[in-house]
């Protein structure tokens, strides 16, 4: 019974973690068909903001909010500075965001040094069903679910969300109907960046902040988004469920490296059969 409970908890946690780190990337990909290779560095920046704010005395929730806002703003800056000139040039966008990724890693290493920094939190553990669970991890699961629901609600019930969905489905038509495509892209990129910054902040108490931490998470996020397909929410949820389960079980039983390899192998085989990802053939939905 313990084993089942532990495994179930690990799987749910892995899925939540995947959703958390992938959702921002998926939103940007779903809208602009751009894979932001600087995604890991947005995570990293969010973690740094959180660590600095937290160690300076700010309450955790404020530090996390600051991460979301600051990284979101940075995302908007990046989009205006060069991403907006590269729409349609998919490979060039890939390369440019890769350049940004290297630049950010180098810049942070130069300014803050290569060593990691940590943020201590006082959440402790709780006993549930005979197993010891970290309260923070449980919070992460809850907060991730809330963020996913918030994203869905924003898309479904707000005017901006309607414009975003319309532009995702048919940019020309949406633009003909009056939606400002450029602003929509900017807002979406900013939101995706903000989500990612927030994810980084959520990770900070667990992993600390280090210049190369992005590299550690980015492989899983890319795989999740690619296999998810072009619908940000449904795709991320579907792919995260699959890979979270695989990664959770394999990592627990063997090692986290093997977990990633398993996820990769399954992804490659899956893409052979569904080249556009799980939601690739879906025409509507989020």
């Amino acid at each position: 019974m313990d084993l089942v409970a532990t495994t179930a908890y690990l799987v749910i946690y892995s899925i939540a973690l995947l959703v958390l780190i992938s959702l921002g990337l998926a939103v940007i990909f779903g809208m602009m068909k751009v894979i932001n290779l600087a995604h890991g560095e947005f995570l990293m920046l969010g973690a740094y903001v959180c660590v600095f704010a937290g160690n300076a005395g700010a309450p955790l929730w404020a530090a996390m909010a600051a991460s979301a806002v600051l990284v979101g703003a940075f995302g908007i800056l990046v989009e205006r500075l060069f991403i907006q000139f590269l729409y349609g040039r998919i490979i060039d966008t890939l390369l440019a965001t890769w350049g940004l990724s290297l630049f950010l890693v180098g810049a942070v290493t130069t300014v803050f040094g290569p060593q990691g920094r940590s943020l201590s939190t006082s959440f402790g553990n709780v006993s549930f069903g005979g197993i010891n669970l970290s309260v923070y991890n449980l919070m992460l699961i809850g907060v991730t679910a809330a963020v996913a629901v918030l994203t869905w609600a924003l898309a479904r019930f707000t005017k901006l969300g309607l414009i975003v969905r319309g532009t995702m489905q048919d940019p020309d038509m949406a633009s003909a109907l009056g939606a400002n495509r450029s602003l929509t892209y900017m807002a979406t990129f900013g939101y995706g960046a903000g989500l990612t910054g927030f994810a980084g902040a959520m990770l900070a108490p667990i992993t600390g902040a280090a210049p190369t931490m992005g590299v550690f998470f980015v492989a899983k996020a890319f795989i999740t988004v690619i296999v998810g397909g072009h619908l940000p929410l449904m795709g991320t949820l579907a792919a995260s469920s699959l890979f979270g389960a695989i990664d959770g079980v394999v990592s627990y039983r063997w090692s986290s490296v093997l977990g990633e390899v398993s996820v990769l192998v399954v992804a490659v085989v899956l893409l052979r059969m569904l080249p556009s990802g799980i939601t690739g053939r879906f025409r509507s939905g989020l």
Binding site: L94, T109, V215
Partner: protein, 341 residues
């Protein structure tokens, strides 16, 4: 506008080009007489990396596949040679195997991404992800239980004491001069070989597929077979580069698989331009020289500058430095001469 891809590859190279190749060969043969050992070592590694650049420039410029994974084969080539040579005690067949084994892996990987008709971005990102994961795998093998034969994989620290290549006729190890000739000669041979490959049916069909895969299929060509063959060939060249790297440095490390290395390969081709084979080779020299100079400052700065270079070139010089310079000269001269450019 500077031509993005070489459009005239199917025409046999002019006598000027042959002259250029002959001059390079002569310079190569003569050089060790006039240069000191440290310069020879520096040039040798540039030749080795030039091979890696050639594999990328062939795959991206002529086949049209942007794979971030050439460093996978580079690393596999180096590690295969190290492990096999240290286990076997000889070096010749491990060197050959170090080229073949990564090609097999390339065939499997290529099969999945090419026959799956995965779109361009997905292919690029998947190859990047595989690179990342390989580095992680190798780094995690620090413990004593990670052993192949009698060679410890050694994780972070890499495998030291990799034997130099032994000459088949007298079993003595290749000297620094020897490594210089081997690296330079191989790079030159591969360059000439690739250039001439573009004159063959296979080469012309590959370029046709790059230009318009749909039309080639409508004509009856199974583009997947050709792309897979080219992918495996590029993997083999990258693996050869990796094996030579191991021979040159007597050392292999996870850094061969890392992001910085992968980024450098892409940067060589972007700076050198995709429209020629020689451009990226020249760029390799330039970028290596530049980053060695930078590397003496601090680690962070190399990454930072690589990132800036990549950004700059994608935004401002998408055709590459050399083609843009050539195009600028062309425009300038035609304005002076008054003829159409």
């Amino acid at each position: 506008m500077a031509r993005e891809f070489a459009a005239d590859a199917a025409t046999p190279p002019s006598w000027l080009w042959w002259l250029f190749v002959a001059a390079l060969a002569l310079a190569l043969i003569a050089m060790p007489k006039f240069t000191d050992v440290s310069l020879q070592l520096d040039l040798s590694i540039i030749f080795v990396l030039a091979l890696l650049a050639l594999s990328m420039s062939f795959l991206w410029g002529y086949v049209g596949i942007l794979s971030f994974g050439q460093t996978i084969f580079f690393g596999l080539g180096g590690y295969s040679y190290a492990i096999l040579a240290l286990n076997a005690g000889t070096t010749l067949w491990p060197f050959v195997a170090a080229i073949c084994l990564p090609m097999i892996f390339g065939a499997v990987l290529g099969y999945f991404v090419i026959y799956g008709r995965i779109n361009d971005i997905y292919l690029s990102v998947i190859t990047l992800v595989i690179t990342l994961i390989f580095e992680k795998i190798i780094r995690s093998t620090s413990g004593p239980e990670y052993v192949i034969g009698k060679v410890r994989l050694n994780g972070q620290n890499g495998i030291p004491g990799v034997p130099g290549l032994q000459l088949p006729w007298d079993s003595s190890t290749l000297s620094i001069d020897g490594v210089f000739y081997l690296a330079g000669g191989t790079a030159l041979l591969v360059y000439v070989g690739l250039r001439l490959l573009l004159l063959t049916s296979f080469g012309r069909i590959i370029v046709g597929i790059r230009e318009n895969e749909t039309r080639m299929e409508l004509l009856g060509y199974d583009s997947r077979v050709y792309k897979l063959a080219a992918f495996v060939l590029a993997a083999g060249i990258a693996a050869l580069s990796g094996a030579l790297y191991a021979v040159w440095g007597n050392f292999v490390a996870p850094e061969m698989f890392n992001l910085n290395q992968a980024a450098q390969v892409v940067i060589w081709v972007i700076v050198g331009g995709r429209s020629t084979l020689i451009g990226p080779v020249v760029a390799t020299g330039l970028v290596q020289y530049f980053s060695n100079w930078l590397g003496t400052v601090s680690i962070g700065q190399v990454t930072l500058v690589l990132g800036l270079v990549l950004l700059l070139f994608v935004l401002v010089f998408p055709r590459g430095l050399l083609p843009t310079i050539a195009w600028t000269f062309d425009k300038a001269f035609s304005k002076i001469g008054g003829r159409r450019s």
